[in-house]
Symmetry: C2
Subunit: 349 residues, 2 copies
DNA sequence: TTGTAAGCGTTATCAT
DNA sequence: ATGATAACGCTTACAA
């Protein structure tokens, strides 16, 4: 068997199909796009030629002529953690259903990130930007270029669409619940200035204190979003000795995992000596040593809605900004000090 | 302020830059690609024009002329679960460093998947295909078209590159460890026929039995990869009453989570009445009620190596297939029946 | 060193 | 109903 050469392998062009079918390229284009009417006999000849040559139109040629990429992008700060992957999954799911490819880009706080995002914008018909990726000036620049944008979990800027989840109310409910358990020394672990989400959770934390006539015992113990970050912040909070917190409100479940680990290592029992709560309701939350009291947010839906809004912008050209806020739900288990329920499960469906 | 029209917004073309700088488009191209020599004064004029017009070359035009996409794709069966997201993260990281964009596609066992993959192939310079996505005939078709391919966690086919992790040896070590705890009725939960990885883990399971002179007490309890799948399979395994297994070897950590949940709901204590092990070492594994004995595999590295192999194929045109097998590591915690260690942590770094 | 012009593979507008 | 042909925006021989 003779090896295929590079040239043989190249997909045939519309010209070769046209020649084989004895028609012009315009007719081939019409046929394979199933657009406009083509006389049945002609259509047959062309279809046969397409079949025989295994013709597949070039995406590049097509996009260049047509002016659209049939692709959208999503920019995230970091893919570690269930939150980002769930959002991206929802985004991909909806986008695929719309017939668009998905390009992903992680910025990882690199300085190059801005250029990478600008570059990505040239490859897509629209972009989703998560928080912690690029700042508002970049968002403005993209909008100036006419790139449809949806912002995720960050304040809307310059009339861009945005999708976020409800934070204040749930945070307040969560902290009020904790105070109801008798806690007076609660510590917030997370960086309120680092992201809008955490900022709002911190506000809810403060609001709950106010309502209870309590003064916050500590300022926020600032840290990143990973388990290791939470672990380190927890050690900082726990060395306070006798004045240490009796409850920790972590900005997300991974941080809570770090706090739980730190407490364990310090010989502090959970939740009797230290209550801990998280945010996100990751799949493992119910299986932890201290089943985690946390706030569930519809992570898949965030991605889905973002894709839907982008689709709308792209297809209708809508320019009036839309802002969606998705609901969240307090999930009480036992890490807050509640008695462990017998089971959440039941029989398999 | 007057609203920008669509036309105003359009990025300027190389022609406009050329006109403004008073040169030909060839010179503009030379300048912005920093290729070939251009007289300093000319270069200056062109650079100023580029700057003033905020010119950005069109990716489509560039790709069409140059013949490459500067993008690679990755096809996964499902993004749920830490495994896929970690692999994708590693892939994106390396790919970004190579200056390539990443397109993702989830097949979700849809019939349309084949077309979607074929379509994706027209947008990229190379493709990574995970197991459970498309079958070998599609792989062959793609290779026939000259698309560089790397297969993940599946047997190499038609001379494509592949990246996998070691399964048999670790599975065998794991099961031997369990048998060392005195177990004789071990159940394997997962689908050996569903993926190469699980197939090999099952083989290791059998090999360990053989070495111990033990006959497997059960055939595999077949199920998918999600927690809910594991939960259902566990109920099937546990209703065996007095003859139920004393240990469960789950094909991954999520399945193990489901098994753990089912056992809890059935009032069976872990690990005293039922030992459970997983695979992957997800971040929450050490924080579970029964800290999970599992097998750690370098998920990020799988993605990184895949991107590296693809890069090599694309840039060097190498065609001799390469197969990489990454090492795995048994992580013993207490869900197998070992005494829980004081801590795995220590002080923060 | 710089310019001319021929691709690259489509789509889409006119004619016919 | 079909065919010419001009975009689309770039890269790259080849000329000058």
């Amino acid at each position: 068997m003779k090896a295929l050469t590079r040239a043989d392998r190249r997909s045939p062009t519309i010209y070769e199909v046209a020649k084989r079918a004895g028609v012009s390229i315009a007719t081939v284009s019409r046929v394979h796009r199933r657009a406009e009417r083509v006389a049945p006999p002609t259509r047959d000849r062309v279809e046969r030629a397409i079949e025989e040559l295994a013709y597949r139109p070039s995406r590049l040629g097509r996009s260049l002529a047509h002016g659209s990429h049939d692709a959208i992008g999503i920019v995230f700060p970091d893919l570690s953690g269930p939150y980002y992957s769930a959002v991206i999954l929802g985004y991909e799911e909806t986008s695929a259903a719309q017939g668009r490819s998905v390009l992903i880009l992680g910025t990882h706080r690199r300085p190059r990130a801005v250029d990478q995002v600008l570059d990505l914008a040239d490859r897509v018909d629209g972009l989703v930007l998560m928080s912690q990726t690029v700042d508002d000036t970049v968002v403005d620049e993209l909008r100036r270029r006419g790139v449809p944008i949806v912002l995720l979990a960050r304040p809307p800027v310059g009339g861009a669409d945005s999708v976020a989840t409800e934070n204040r109310r749930s945070a307040r409910a969560l902290v009020t619940h904790l105070i109801g358990h008798g806690h007076e020394r609660l510590a917030f672990v997370g960086d309120p200035a680092g992201s809008a989400d955490v900022g709002e959770r911190w506000e809810g934390f403060l609001a709950a204190h106010r309502s209870a006539g309590l003064a916050p015992a500590f300022g926020p113990f600032t840290c990143g979003f990973r388990e290791e970050d939470g672990r380190e912040a927890a050690f900082a909070a726990l060395i306070a000795g006798a004045h240490r917190p009796t409850a920790v409100v972590a900005a997300n479940d991974e941080i809570a995992l770090g706090v739980l680990g730190a407490a364990r290592d310090a010989g502090i029992e959970t939740p009797s000596e230290l209550a801990v709560t998280g945010w996100d309701d990751i799949p493992a939350a119910r299986h932890l040593m201290s089943p985690l009291t946390t706030v569930r947010q519809p992570m898949l839906d965030i991605g889905r809605r973002a894709a839907a809004l982008l689709h709308e912008q792209i297809t209708t050209g809508r320019s009036e900004p839309r802002r969606e806020v998705l609901p969240t739900e307090l999930v009480v288990r036992s890490s807050c000090g509640c008695i462990a329920p017998k089971s959440e499960g039941g029989v398999p469906r």
